[in-house]
């Protein structure tokens, strides 16, 4: 069965770009969130296999959303996808259970690889 994916990014451009890459590679995008709070709500409702999570977003940022999702589902598979590649931020995300960390701009193959790694 195709992996079900939730995309989280405040930029419409990034949501469209990610969705195109994912659907062209046979994955199913089941939801799109434009901030962390929406992502937490949609995660509970949709139970996706993989979540793509931006960090810099209004209302609730991606690190806070990662923590909230992992608190409710310790098996949640969250991939951070952000322009912020500081070591401190990468470490914080990994410590809170992020499975992968993709720095923008990225090559489409990097996105596909991240989903394929998810069991």
């Amino acid at each position: 069965m195709a992996k079900r994916i939730l995309i989280t990014d405040d930029a419409l451009f990034m949501r469209v770009t990610l969705k195109n890459i994912l659907t062209q590679n046979g994955f199913e995008v089941v939801g799109e969130a434009s901030n962390g709070r929406e992502a937490v709500e949609l995660y509970e409702k949709l139970k996706p296999d993989v979540v793509f999570m931006d960090i810099t977003m209004p209302e609730m940022d991606g690190l806070a959303a990662l923590k909230a999702i992992r608190a409710k589902d310790p098996n949640a598979y969250v991939v951070m996808c952000t322009a912020m590649g500081q070591k401190q931020i990468v470490l914080e995300a990994i410590q809170h259970g992020a499975k992968d960390f993709i720095v923008k701009p990225f090559q489409p193959e990097r996105i596909v690889e991240a989903v394929q790694k998810a069991a």
């Binding site: 405040d10 930029a11 419409l12 451009f13 209004p58 322009a83 912020m84 500081q86 720095v103 701009p105």
Partner: protein, 155 residues
Amino acid sequence: MKVEYISPFVTAAIEVCQMMLGITPQRGQLNARKGIFTSQQCNIVLGVTGQLEGMIIYGMSIFTADKIASQMLGTTIRTFDELAASAIAELGNMISGNALTKLASTGYQCNLSPPSIIRGSSVRISTLEIPTLVIPLITELGELEINVGLQERTK
């Protein structure tokens, strides 16, 4: 305003433009301004907090904004809609995020606000009288002006 704050932005802008737009910008003449001010038609504004505080503005003409958005979306845009605006905003976010990553490796830990797009010329942001360095990047899609107004947080 230290000149060392600006080079990570120039390097990041060149790298991101190469990857996202397939172009290599040329660096123009550096200018200093007393405050943050932009006379460009389309501006991406991002706030910086942390060990350095202030604002980054990427300014360009409407013509250049259309060209950049078209290049990013892989199709010629007819109206500058939400998708086009978010493409331009994301370019600013990527350049700034990569620049802050470079600044972090030299000891300045900073965070970024989500980008805003301001359209209309001669915008002065009068609450922030931070000395600003302006560097024009000359590209085949037009000029992209980077305004870096950062100062060390007062302890």
